[in-house]
């Protein structure tokens, strides 16, 4: 399996804060892989994903895409974002334009595509995400699930090989979640890789091929879900034993 995205020994501390948020994170993502990223709130998942897209710059360590160390100049960032797409938890943070079609066209045009190519990308991404009928609508008149799919289309229109999703399913109802996972499935069939940060263990067990568990800025486990959830040592180390049993151990708050 070819490694598409690789993170090596990332260290990061937000400016002005005392505690480092990432403390030596390493992971990799292969072509066509479906990986879940889990960990309690504040464990550093979002910070890690922002590094994978070149938005944050690590204090130490590097990010490689398709074997290449990524740089932070404008040209390098453009190449980076062409390959790695990122969707956020709240679509309202991502949709900036009052028009759905125009919002989706933003990414492709930033890649330097011509108007006609960008138009094609908008149509393709909208069809893939099932939002073709919403293209002429104003953004503010969409429901939550529709906004999420439009936000996804805005990222997929850039045709990234790697999709990072930061809790993008957590505010959706179960049906809409299935819908999103079905879209993910189509992407994976095209050889794209997906890294999904989530709190939903059901999705983790049923969807992911591999699970990465983070705590306090470190990776504690990296294993297929079947192995993770059946290995008592791994479960105890990651603190997932409590979640699986549904009881907090007396020594932890």
């Amino acid at each position: 399996m070819t490694v598409l995205l690789e993170v090596r020994d990332l260290h990061f501390c937000y400016p002005g804060s005392a505690e480092p948020v990432l403390r030596g994170v390493s992971l990799h993502l292969g072509a066509g892989e479906k990986v879940a990223l889990i960990g309690s709130n504040g464990s550093g998942k979002s910070t890690l994903l922002l590094h994978c897209n070149g938005i944050l710059r690590p204090d130490r360590g590097q990010v490689r895409v398709a074997g290449q160390v990524m740089g932070y100049e404008q040209q390098a960032l453009r190449a980076w974002r062409r390959q790695v797409g990122l969707i956020f938890q709240y679509p309202d943070d991502q949709l900036f334009s009052a028009s759905v079609a125009q919002d989706i066209s933003f990414g492709p045009l930033n890649l330097g595509l011509s108007d006609s190519l960008a138009r094609q990308r908008v149509a393709d991404a909208a069809a893939l995400c099932g939002v073709t009928h919403l293209l002429a609508r104003p953004t503010h008149a969409l429901s939550g699930g529709e906004k999420t799919r439009v936000a996804l289309a805005g990222v997929l229109a850039m045709e990234p090989r790697i999709l990072l999703a930061d809790e993008a399913l957590s505010t959706l109802d179960p049906w809409m979640r299935l819908h999103m996972l079905a879209i993910f499935e189509r992407l994976v069939a095209q050889g794209k890789s997906i890294l999904l940060a989530t709190h939903d263990l059901h999705t983790v067990r049923t969807w992911a091929e591999r699970v990465i568990v983070m705590r306090a800025g470190q990776v504690l486990a990296d294993a297929p879900p079947a192995q993770l959830f059946s290995d008592p040592v791994l479960l105890t180390r990651t603190g997932l034993d409590a979640v699986v049993k549904g009881v907090l151990p007396p020594d932890r708050p």
Binding site: D93, S97, H140
Partner: protein
């Protein structure tokens, strides 16, 4: 704003090129302003009202209500032109009414002037209504973009319009949360809650703009919100229609 915009989205001619709709409305407004005859304004109101309802597909009661409100407003605005108030009886040729020592009077000249003012303004207003009720804000912004108005201004309008709704949403949620904890139960509490709401909203807007900045960057933003122009239907018959409207208003304005 959002009410009118909602009708605009449902309009039958929503997808007609906004340049054509704006062109028609602009010509009507210009004719109302340069032709000094009340018939022009009246003609403009009839044309624009009819077109908004039958061509634009906006319900008659909606158009009627909007026009009526604007008409009453215009009438109030010209009261000062029509009536003059004085302590002395008016000269001959004036119609007057005596209230105690006060004379309220008017004459044919000021009535004619008021009629002209009202009809002109009403005609122009009806043309604006036509545009506003059939053309959503984003189409107008898109038109400005095509006309090469400063991109900074356009981007600002686009994002502002988007943010208005996002912030209205936040405001609603914060206010509900406050109400559920009796935040508006007494006048004092209401004052305090409103203050908290405002400051909370400010923080919220700031944090949102930070997150939006991040999301834009991840899609390759470098200080330029480039988007595709929207698709519109361009209809040659609109030129005929526009010509008919213009000719009829010119006729109404020229008959001695």
């Amino acid at each position: 704003m959002s009410q009118i915009d909602r009708y605009a989205y449902t309009s039958r001619i929503r997808h007609l090129d906004p340049a054509q709709k704006t062109g028609l409305a602009a010509l009507v407004i210009i004719l109302c302003l340069i032709l000094p005859r009340p018939a022009v304004g009246v003609g403009a109101v009839l044309w624009m009202g009819m077109l908004t309802v039958w061509w634009g597909g906006i319900p008659l009661p909606v158009v009627g209500r909007v026009l009526l409100a604007e008409f009453l407003f215009l009438l109030l605005a010209v009261v000062g032109v029509v009536l003059s108030f004085s302590w002395e009886p008016p000269p001959v040729g004036f119609w007057s009414l005596q209230l105690g020592p006060l004379w309220i009077s008017t004459n044919q000249g000021s009535l004619a002037l008021a009629g002209l003012l009202v009809s002109r303004a009403f005609g122009a207003t009806a043309a604006m209504n036509f545009l506003a009720l059939t053309t959503p804000f984003i189409d107008l912004v898109d038109l400005l973009r095509r006309l090469r108005v400063s991109p900074v201004l356009i981007d600002l309008m686009d994002v502002m319009y988007r943010f208005v709704f996002v912030l209205l949403d936040s405001m609603g949620r914060i206010a509900t949360a406050q109400q559920s904890r009796l935040g508006y139960a007494t006048r004092r509490a209401a004052w305090r809650s409103s203050g908290l709401l405002a400051s909370r909203l400010f923080v919220d807007a700031y944090q949102r703009s930070q997150r939006m900045q991040t999301a834009l960057a991840s899609r390759g933003y470098y200080g330029d919100l480039r988007v595709l122009p929207l698709d519109y239907r361009h209809d040659g018959r609109v030129y005929l229609l526009t010509a008919a409207v213009v000719v009829s208003l010119l006729l109404a304005g020229s008959r001695a």
